[in-house]
């Protein structure tokens, strides 16, 4: 078997093994589905609820991607501002940290009041959760420039903009990409958390609403089916950002 095939099948094999084990445990110990549903229960629930869940996924995904986009644009901008001068970084970084450590669950009520549209409120919440790794990694990346090359740019009196475009951004790219990968997961978590604390039912109901309602209705297999969709989406986001990363960094050939 080729190395490529192995590298695709190995994680699948692990997953299948895990599901079989889970199914076995549920089966042999007669664990009732409302306590811990077996994968087969979840699959059944997933298929019978696929319409509603698919719709909910679409809502959540909208918030996730919007939050990720905002995080990238805003996070990179903030990192650029911070890197302009050590004093700016010293002055403002603490407040960026403040933003990260303020639990969104606690801020959500305020955000709902300040932001009229529910969708926008959700995006704001999710962005608050997802943006920090982008800022922090981009900043670190912008600062991790090869001192020799930096000297070269300085000597040639490169303008700030050109240093940014031609030196700092390419140098920051690997760390930015690592941040993007962390953030893509957080944006999803953020969207779900936001829906939990600020979400509504109705047409724009996301996966969190499905989870909550399934929980209140004691339909635990459906709750897990919704959870499963979230994790699958997270995995897809991870692999997507992984591919982007490889694409963007493909010519960083190693010796």
């Amino acid at each position: 078997m080729s190395a490529r095939l192995i590298s695709i099948f190995a994680p699948l094999a692990v997953g299948i093994l895990f599901l079989l084990l889970w199914q076995g445990i549920c089966y042999f110990w007669h664990i009732p589905p409302y306590l811990m549903p077996a994968p087969s229960d979840i699959a059944r629930s997933l298929f019978s609820n696929i319409d509603t869940l698919g719709h909910a996924l679409y809502s959540t995904l909208t918030v996730t991607l919007a939050a990720l986009c905002v995080s990238v644009v805003l996070g990179v901008l903030v990192a650029f501002v911070l890197v302009q001068h050590p004093l700016i970084e010293r002055s403002l970084m603490p407040y960026v940290v403040l933003m990260q450590v303020t639990p969104v669950v606690a801020l959500a009520p305020l955000i709902i009041i300040l932001v009229k549209t529910t969708l926008l409120a959700l995006v704001v919440c999710a962005t608050l959760i997802a943006i920090f790794p982008i800022i922090s990694n981009t900043l670190q990346g912008l600062k991790s420039v090869d001192p020799g090359l930096e000297a070269f740019f300085r000597m040639h009196k490169a303008s700030r903009l050109k240093t940014l475009l031609r030196l700092q951004i390419p140098s920051a790219l690997p760390m930015f990409m690592a941040g993007l990968q962390i953030s893509s997961g957080l944006a999803l978590v953020g969207a779900v958390v936001a829906e939990f604390v600020a979400g509504t039912g109705g047409n724009s109901a996301g996966l969190a609403y499905e989870i909550l309602q399934a929980g209140f209705q004691m339909d635990i297999p459906r709750m897990f089916a919704a959870l499963f969709m979230i994790t699958l989406t997270g995995l897809a986001l991870y692999m997507a950002t992984s591919s982007i990363r490889k694409l963007v960094l493909h010519n960083r050939v190693q010796h």
């Binding site: 020799g148 000297a151 000597m155 009196k157």
Partner: protein
């Protein structure tokens, strides 16, 4: 009065860890001079070059460039290029884009820069590798890219820190001759560090022999600038004598460094 290219007034460099890289030094570099710096490893040659390139700030003392501040450097007829001791290329860009970088930074359009980049690559013999990435080059090839990048701006002052150390004798000799030709043709002032006495003798109009502990200029040696630097010169008795003189000075400088270290 003709302007001095570089004027160093008792500039000194002490590093944060307390090591004095360079004792106070005073030196004037005049247009069209070609100065070779030789001296034992660790005697402050790179430090001196970096002071001149404004990459280090002197701990005390003062420098001027073309009788002006560093702010004026880079404008017409005051171009400065530096070949670092290590290649310092952008690993994410091809050879061609690496060489084009200083022209891009000046805002020169790709149309204008393309032939100049091609020409610089031909001088260093790397036209065939223009589309490779630095990681795909041999050590000597990387250094030659760095040299091409310094030449592409047609500098008025060229600083080179052991640029040819990683090159074979033949490539090195050819590049030495190319540099000599460039210096003769253009209004080029040259300051270079070398470990080859022959190279110092061949290229320089003035050789500065440095010693360590602390870094300082131990001796100066003038070579008639009117002698044409070509194959004939390399085989002449004058050349042999110059090399022998430099060798003696270098031995003295090294001994002085060792004595100072023990003291």
């Amino acid at each position: 009065m003709q302007e001095t290219v570089i004027s160093i007034q008792s500039a000194e460099k002490t590093f944060p860890n307390g090591v004095q890289g360079l004792a106070p030094i005073t030196l004037d570099i005049h247009p069209k001079e070609r100065i070779g710096l030789i001296g034992p490893s660790g005697c402050g040659k790179s430090t001196l070059l970096k002071l001149i390139a404004n990459l280090h700030q002197p701990s005390s003392g003062h420098l001027t460039w073309w009788n002006k501040g560093f702010a004026e450097v880079g404008k017409e007829n005051r171009r400065l290029s530096f070949v670092f001791q290590e290649p310092t290329l952008m690993p994410w860009s091809t050879v061609r884009k690496n060489v084009r970088l200083p022209l891009d930074l000046e805002g020169i359009s790709p149309d204008v820069s393309a032939p100049r980049v091609q020409q610089a690559l031909e001088i260093v013999g790397l036209a065939h590798a223009a589309d490779r990435f630095p990681a795909q080059l041999s050590g000597g090839m990387k250094m030659r890219v760095s040299i091409a990048r310094a030449l592409v701006t047609r500098p008025n002052l060229l600083l080179m820190d052991e640029p040819f150390g990683a090159l074979d004798e033949l490539t090195r000799n050819r590049l030495d001759e190319d540099i000599a030709t460039l210096c003769a043709k253009d209004d080029l002032t040259l300051l270079f560090v070398t470990h080859s006495l022959y190279e110092a003798a061949f290229l320089s109009t003035r050789v500065m022999v440095m010693a360590a502990h602390p870094g300082r200029i131990f001796a100066e040696y003038e070579i008639d600038p009117s002698i044409p630097r070509n194959e004939e010169f390399r085989l002449s008795d004058t050349f042999a004598t110059i090399c022998q003189d430099l060798s003696k000075l270098l031995i003295q400088a090294s001994q002085s460094s060792l004595l100072a270290e023990v003291a």
